[in-house]
Each structure stands twice: as structure tokens, then as C-alpha cells.
Symmetry: C2
Subunit: 428 residues, 2 copies
């Protein structure tokens, strides 16, 4: 495989086939009038090719406002391909090509990038995750099972000492993973350096006592130079994980972080709704997660089953599986860990595991831990018991009869409605 | 002004006022259950405030798919504010807050960020454009009137020598500004270093002969380290302008470029449709251009009047004006130059100037220059004559009677339908 392919769901007033030709032209050799310099030889080597067209329906009205109108709007799925020689393996230029001006074309009344297949040259050219699941476990001093995690709340407003006090409670409760909220970075109320010092003292004392290094994903999101200084500071305090809002710093920002990071990179998707909310415009997570993994994210948020946001369980399942599948057609697989989060309790642990068929995930709960009737420690224990039941294939209610913390949790948190199928990923 | 304000158009199954409270909570102190640590004092200092709510309508169906449903969906405009102390002046964290998780909330069936007002602290904390309009003219060795520009086409496929040959034709034709296509960066067919060497030789020879340094915006878009190497190479060849796809490299990537750039930064919006196409999800240009200017863009694309894409002339006018207005409530104004592009001919020059009330813009035409019946040189001359007529307030048809190049142009290119009003920006 030496070509890059992209698949789009689109709608057009001029028909899907004609629209596909416009997109292929706009995103390769074309301009709106054919120029003398656009020779047949140049087109043969550089033009994007239409690989496949499937018509899926028509509508009397356009999905999005558009300058060009028609009597009807045909909908379909189109696959295009580009030569690797058009732009090499540069991720930003890949983005500008597959997800560039085409989103504004008047010939399209809907356009969504839903799949992208890359040749192995991308997997070889980019560093990918430095740690992945096994490396993340190693950073903790070893670990089995999913990582049970939580997020510091309130999202913003706690000072460094208040944060450290909450962290002390959480590590005593047996937590594996803690993260800053994406709203908390380096604000005047909770400066990064002071938060790192206060929290690291707690984490390091706990590691000295127990041998377990709890992972804290400090939000390093900032300008490039400042992110690098943040990494230096974290390293000086024995930090093992840097969280970054991947959309806020951009693809090149993520890669710059990866290039100098001695620690795991925890990728947060704040702003993801812009790409995901509309069925008529945007980019699927299946596409974006490949770019973020190639650029170096070790962990990627995928929302949670039965979450408080809008993505469906089918999308969550597809997202979580996608980060555990090879990133390119060949070359290093560059697998990342999916991070479940948002309204998660013991009820979601088994389905979250089942759709992956392994334990290589991070499971974040907030109220699901802190609101346990026996306290935070029992909250963590209940989640670990749920993970044990899931791994052993035992029904959560049956397992709860021998495990009082789990039993209290299932009696406290309402059971959500979830339907996911067994995963095809490798077993752990 | 010490608070940051953001205005959203939104739609909700729970009503606009209730939805506004959810957004304010999610993007500041809240979580979905109120925690003990979320004290009144903490809320007072860190909670986002609802400043204004205007109800604009209701719909029986949701604009976007959403997990929460209702019997009707209320639509409205909501203004929220945040304390500067929540996150300081960090642009990526500003993005994660104003345009973060809120886009995914189940309580919203539409959400679009349409305005953002920043305190002067942002204008002081960030470098802003290094050159702006006057600096750009200085880089050319002096210039009056709008910059007449063009884009190398075909978009991708020409080699370095073919590109340089086209540049030679264009500089001989009297062009002021040339840019790479956003698809052309550092691909195997046209490596950046070879293109820079070949093109710069033409530009420098022309400058030696005429004293006029034509600006060529070389597309430096790439990973951070490579962009910095690209700047070094450009500087060694006397380059005066670096083009970057702002969405592809991200906000932190743009700022990293600005911090090391000895030359003007030309901001291209490839992918802009993701933010702009839907009335139900996204971010307005008025918001994004402030972030891009603070991070250092000297020039920003705004599309063109009567363009081949989908933005309306009213949006183009608003976009072009916005980059010439102060970026914050106080502090340095950080003005940038708007770049008009896409299907532009002599007909759009006067309206493009009229909506700004000054000449501080770049006007890019492709076919509008190369398809002039007397050749490229007459094409450039016709555009300059159109700019002269616009500045002097003379009707283009009347002026054309004394200027054969302009006359040929208005007889060749069909007159588009454009309606824009006189601008309120300062006169030049």
C-alpha cells in the first residue's frame, strides 16, 4: 500500500459522483479553471483518485447551508486516494489535504471525513506512543488489571494545598491514576509549579511507603516552550505523566511535547464536539486518533459508556477499540490506552472490558468513587472487584454477594442501560 | 474589564436558561454532582457567571442528535463570563474552557461560540503580529495600495524549477505577492529546500533589478522543529514571509513559529469549514481570528466576496473587518491584514476595499490574472487600476474607458452579484 485513502460521507446538489470529482480536484492538482501547467503527466502523478462511490439516498433539502442549490441533494459515501509523493508523511499537511478546503466547497451540502487508511511509511516516520499500556504499568512499578482512576474536582478553583490534600485521600484509597481537570493548567489560583510540588510530595511519600507509584496526569497544556519547561519541572519531581488537550495545542504541539517527553502523554479531547456532534460536518474519532497516536499520545479519552455527554455507546465502543488497533497498514502498531470517563460507576466496568477483550484501559470515575457509601477507599475497591468479576467472567451481582464494597456500590448507583458486544481485539 | 466573556448561540431540550447554567458549571467549578469541596467561597471566586440570556425561538425537533430529548427545543443567545484568575492568559487553556467539553453536552442540541471579549491582559501577554500591514509593506522595500497577489497552481505537482519558472512570469508581470498552495509543503516532488532555493533566486534577481522585493509566502507547515529549520533556510535565502496552515499546526504551533520568526506569518485557514459550515455547531471567525492574531499571524485569509466556497458576502465582510479591529478591550491593537482569495477578479476590488475603507489588504487572484486576454502582466495591471479607481472613488466602468487593461478585464470576467456596505474601519 503506497497510497493514502480517505472516506467521506457527503451530500451534494450536483450529485455524489460529480461532487467527488470536485473534491478530488480541489485537494490535489485542480483549480476552478484548468490551467495550461496542469498537464496530463502532472495529473497522472499527482491527481487524487476516486476509488469508490456508494449512493445512499437523496433529500429534498440541503443538510447544511450552501451557495449552490439543486432540486435534490444526493447523499453517498466516497473513497479517494492520494499518492504518498504529494506530501510525504507530514501530519499537518495530511490534515490540510484530507480535511482542508473541501469542507467549504459550495458543491457539498454535507461532508464528513469518516475513515483514513495510511501506508506503513507513516508508522515508521512518526514516533507513536512512547509507553502504551505496558509502559504505563511499568511507570507505576508494575500493575495488573485496568487502571482505576479519577479526576480532581471541582474542575477549577482548588489551590495547590487543597489539591494535594484531595490527592492524599485518593492515594490512601488505593487509586491507580489521577488527572487534572482540563480547565486546570497554570492559573493564578493554582500555579502549575506549586501544584506539582505539593502533589508530587504526596505521590512520592506514598510510593516510598507502598512501592506503588500512583500516576498523576498533570495538565501541561500551554505554549510549546512552556510545555517543555513543565516537563522539566515534572521530571525533577519524579512525575510520570503529562496531560495535554490535543485540540488546544494542535497536532504539531502534541508532537513537540512527545519529542521531549520522558513520561507518558495523556491525551484529552476537550473541544471534541466540534468534530463529532454533527452528522453533516466533521471528522470521526477513528481518523483523529490515528493522527494523535502517530504524534505520540499514550492515552486517549474515548468518553464512557452511558456517559453524560451525547456520543452513543456504539461510538464509544468503536472509539475504544480503534486505539488498540494497528495505526497503519504495516509498520509499528503504535497502540494506545483508551480512557473511559464521564458518569462511570461499577456498572460500566464489565461492558467497558468486554468490548476490548483485555484490561489495557484506564477507567475514571468521580462520583462513582467519592459517593460510595463506605467512602472513597471502598469506592476504589468496588471498581477493582468489578474488574475482577469482568476478567473472570462472573456476573457482577453474583460476585457482589461475596464482596460487600461491590454490593454497596451496585445498591447505590443506578444501573444504566448499556448494549455493547464482545470485542475482537486481542485478549490480555 | 477583568473578566473574559463568551457568547453562544444554543438550543436545548431543557430550556436556554437551564442549559446556560449547565454550561457555566461544566466549564468552571462544577461536576454532575455537587461535591463537598465545591464551597460557596470557591464558587464565588471561580464559577462562570451567566451575564445575559436572550430567547430567540423554539423548534419541535433538535438541530443536532442528542442523548437528552424534550417536547420542544428552545433556542437563544447566552453570554457567560469567567474570572481571569481561573486560567490566566494561556490561549490553549482559554480554548479548552470556552470551546471545550461544552460542545458535547447532552443538554444542548446546538451550540456555537459566536463572540469572545478579552481583557487587555491578553493583548499584553501575547506577541501579536510582528509586521502587520506597514511592516509587510516595508519588507517589500515600500509599497502603496493593496497587495496584488496570486497562488501557485496547480495546487500540487509542479517541481521546484517549474515553480520558479512560473514565479519568474509572475514577478515580470508586476505581482506584489505570491503564495504556495496549502497542499504544497515539503513533498518528494517539490522539496521545500529546493523550492526555496529556486524561487528565491528569481525573487532576489528581480529585487536587484527593480528594487522591489516581491513577497513569496512559502508554506512552512510541518512539525515545530522542522518549521524552525524552514525559517532558518528561508532567512538564509532572504525570505520575507512564512505561510502556515493554522488549524493543522494548532494554536501552540502558530505561537512557536511566531516566537522564532524573523519574517511575516501568513495564516491559511485550511479546514475552516469544520468550524464555520454548520449554524448549529462551531466557532465564528470573529473568535478564532483573535486567537490567531494574539499568537502572531500577520495575514489571515478571509475568503473573497462572491467566492467559490460557501460563506456569504456578509460573513466575508465581517471577517475582513474583524482582523483590523483591536484584539482586546485595551492594550496593543495587534492588527492583521485580511487576505481575499477564491474566484477573485477586478470586479471584487472596489467592494473589498469599500468594506474596509483602507488599502491594508492582500487581494489574491488566479484565473483573474492568468486568464486576462492580454496576458498576466495586463492581468496584474488591471487589478491595480481597479484599486486606483476604488481609492479615488471612480466607477470601475468609467475608469476602464481610459485604461485598456481594466477594460479588457471587465469585458472578460463576468460581473458577480455583490452587496456590501461602507466599512467603519479607519481610513488609510
Amino acid at each position: 500500500m503506497t497510497r493514502i485513502t480517505a472516506t467521506y460521507d457527503l451530500e451534494s446538489p450536483i450529485g455524489v459522483a460529480a461532487a467527488a470529482a470536485v473534491v478530488a480536484g480541489e485537494q490535489s492538482t485542480g483549480t476552478f479553471t484548468r490551467l495550461a501547467a496542469e498537464t496530463d503527466a502532472l495529473r497522472a502523478r499527482s491527481a487524487a483518485r476516486i476509488e469508490d462511490i456508494v449512493i445512499t439516498g437523496t433529500s429534498p433539502t440541503p443538510a447544511l447551508p450552501t451557495r449552490k442549490t439543486g432540486t435534490s441533494y444526493e447523499r453517498g459515501r466516497v473513497t479517494l486516494s492520494w499518492s504518498l509523493d504529494n506530501f510525504g508523511t507530514s501530519l499537518p499537511v495530511l490534515m490540510s489535504t484530507l480535511a482542508g478546503n473541501l469542507f467549504e466547497l459550495a458543491e457539498l451540502s454535507a461532508i464528513r471525513l469518516i475513515d483514513m487508511q495510511l501506508p506503513g511509511a507513516f508508522a515508521t516516520a512518526h514516533p507513536g506512543p512512547q509507553f502504551g499500556a505496558q509502559g504505563t504499568r511499568d511507570l507505576m512499578g508494575g500493575h495488573t488489571g485496568p487502571l482505576i482512576g479519577t479526576i480532581i474536582k471541582p474542575s477549577v478553583g482548588l489551590g495547590p494545598d487543597e489539591t494535594a490534600a484531595l490527592v492524599a485521600t485518593l492515594v490512601d484509597a488505593g487509586i491507580d491514576f489521577i488527572k487534572d481537570d482540563e480547565l486546570q493548567a497554570n492559573g493564578p489560583h493554582c500555579p502549575f509549579a506549586e501544584r506539582v510540588a505539593a502533589v508530587s510530595a504526596v505521590l512520592n511519600a506514598h510510593a516510598d511507603k507502598t512501592g506503588k507509584k500512583v500516576i498523576y496526569a498533570f495538565n501541561v497544556t500551554d505554549e510549546i516552550d512552556q510545555m517543555w519547561r513543565n516537563l522539566d519541572l515534572l521530571q525533577a519531581h519524579g512525575g510520570t505523566c503529562a496531560m495535554v488537550c490535543v485540540s488546544a495545542v494542535g497536532l504539531s504541539g502534541l508532537r513537540a511535547l512527545r519529542d521531549r517527553s520522558p513520561m507518558a502523554i495523556h491525551g484529552h479531547r476537550a473541544g471534541w464536539g466540534i468534530y463529532s456532534r454533527s452528522p453533516d460536518i466533521g471528522i470521526s474519532f477513528g481518523v483523529m486518533q490515528k493522527l494523535w497516536r502517530l504524534a505520540g499520545a499514550d492515552h486517549l479519552h474515548v468518553n464512557g459508556l452511558a456517559n453524560k455527554f451525547t456520543e452513543t455507546d456504539a461510538v464509544i465502543a468503536q472509539s475504544a477499540r480503534s486505539v488498540q488497533q494497528p495505526v497503519c497498514a504495516s509498520g509499528p502498531a503504535h497502540l494506545a490506552m483508551p480512557v473511559y470517563s464521564s458518569g462511570q460507576t461499577v456498572w460500566q466496568v464489565d461492558p467497558a472490558r468486554r468490548l476490548l477483550n483485555n484490561d489495557d484501559f484506564i477507567f475514571c470515575a468521580g462520583g462513582g468513587i467519592l459517593s460510595h457509601p463506605f467512602g472513597a477507599s471502598a469506592g476504589v475497591m468496588a471498581l477493582r472487584q468489578a474488574a475482577q468479576a469482568a476478567r473472570d467472567g462472573i456476573d457482577i451481582r453474583a460476585f457482589a454477594r461475596q464482596h460487600p464494597e461491590l454490593e454497596a456500590a451496585i445498591n447505590t448507583f443506578p444501573e444504566p442501560d448499556i448494549a455493547v458486544t464482545q470485542g475482537q481485539n486481542r485478549a490480555s
